[in-house]
Symmetry: C2
DNA sequence: TTGACGACATACCGGCGAGTATGTTCGCCT
DNA sequence: AGGCGAACATACTCGCCGGTATGTCGTCAA
């Protein structure tokens, strides 16, 4: 981090930033295949030329959104997961809380990112196909971070005896689903916090050993 | 319902059955917008003519799949929810278990159904748009069935103090997410049971009042 | 001052795919 | 035995959309 990047270390070039934002909302609204390049341009108050000046294909725009979204997730979670000062249950709670927050505040990006993971093919171009698999790899890394914390919690006796890798499925499923029903228009900071609290409670509760 | 329908009371005409099945797998593979009518036909070993003989538009095929999927869900859950002989926690456990099972065994239909709920528009035709809202209404009814059981469980002191309607979100989110990652090719009956057990445990655990 | 290049807009092309129009082949009823 | 309609297949149309080619306007360096 030198003087002034716009956000993270991973640089979305200044001209591309607007395109990604517009495309994310457009994709969120109508899905990938159904949204036109003209839709994206109109969302920015521009025309096709602008988009194709920065991107060579529609799929490239999509992939940039997805990787940005995944990177946001990873960047947010890693420091929490690695904080050895906290017991695993607390860490998991905060990870879930943060993930839930991103699903709401960064809804358009995250929703597009979620959709990418369920795609098998993106087009005929093998380069794009490989990029998609890179995204899948990021998702796997991300799941593994959760799985590791769950393992720690199980070994510490806080959690039930579960296959940690498998346990991430309902956990992240519940959280990811937020991106599908949450309306980013509605809801202030407080209601978002309350929602994230509720989700984090639910998730940690689901892994805790039974009351008796 | 006269003499012999093929399955439930809600009759998918004999000729349509194959189309729905083929279309469901095609939609699951490539998404709604990206799949061609020819794709669907090829999946059946037929041609466009066959599809358009039974359906007037692509969206109609889609809607039939979705409503069938939703109906499967409702039909399976209602008798469990209404079984007063069981305490709410047990009923909820079985409901979650059954829902999880459907997400696996009827993966293609359910996955398409899930995708429909996240759609805003389906096309320009207002008739289809209204049909989509009918589906949303079915989804709401379905959520309400879960919410009612959660309320009973809360009043009986089995569950935490939660907004029942809101609590269905993480619950069904976790379950619905199965349809996105589960591969119907893999997995026998036993592994599916184990998975559904795990999910049901997780969910009921997430709602139980804390250990202390 | 000019000319070269970045940052777009505009005009255009080509293919694909939803929907339609038109066969063709059966079984069934009379 | 003949014709009639259901159940498809085949052939065709036509608009839309991804991508490209070309034009235009500013800005900055020499």
């Amino acid at each position: 981090m030198t003087a002034d990047d716009d956000t993270a270390a991973h640089l979305p070039a200044p001209g591309r930033r607007d395109i990604l934002e517009a495309a994310a909302t457009a994709f969120t609204r109508n899905g990938y295949a159904a949204t036109t390049i003209d839709d994206i341009a109109r969302e920015m108050g521009a025309t096709k030329g602008r988009v194709y000046h920065y991107y060579r294909a529609k799929a490239d725009v999509f992939l940039d959104i997805v990787t940005a979204g995944m990177q946001e997730l990873i960047d947010g979670i890693e420091p929490i997961a690695g904080n050895g000062g906290l017991d695993p249950a607390t860490r998991l709670w905060r990870m879930a809380h943060h993930h839930a927050g991103l699903m709401m505040t960064r809804n358009s990006f995250q929703r597009v990112a979620m959709r990418a993971v369920e795609m098998r093919r993106l087009g005929e171009a093998p380069a794009q196909q490989q990029a998609l698999e890179t995204v899948i790899a990021m998702r796997d890394r991300y799941e593994q971070i959760f799985a590791d914390v769950i393992d720690e919690g199980r070994e510490a006796g806080e959690f039930r005896e579960v296959d940690s890798r498998l346990a991430t499925k309902p956990l992240l499923g519940a959280l990811n689903w937020i991106s599908l029903w949450y309306d980013p228009q509605r809801g202030d900071y407080n209601t978002r916090q309350r929602l994230a609290d509720e989700y984090a409670d639910f998730i940690v509760g689901g892994l805790r050993r039974s009351p008796r």
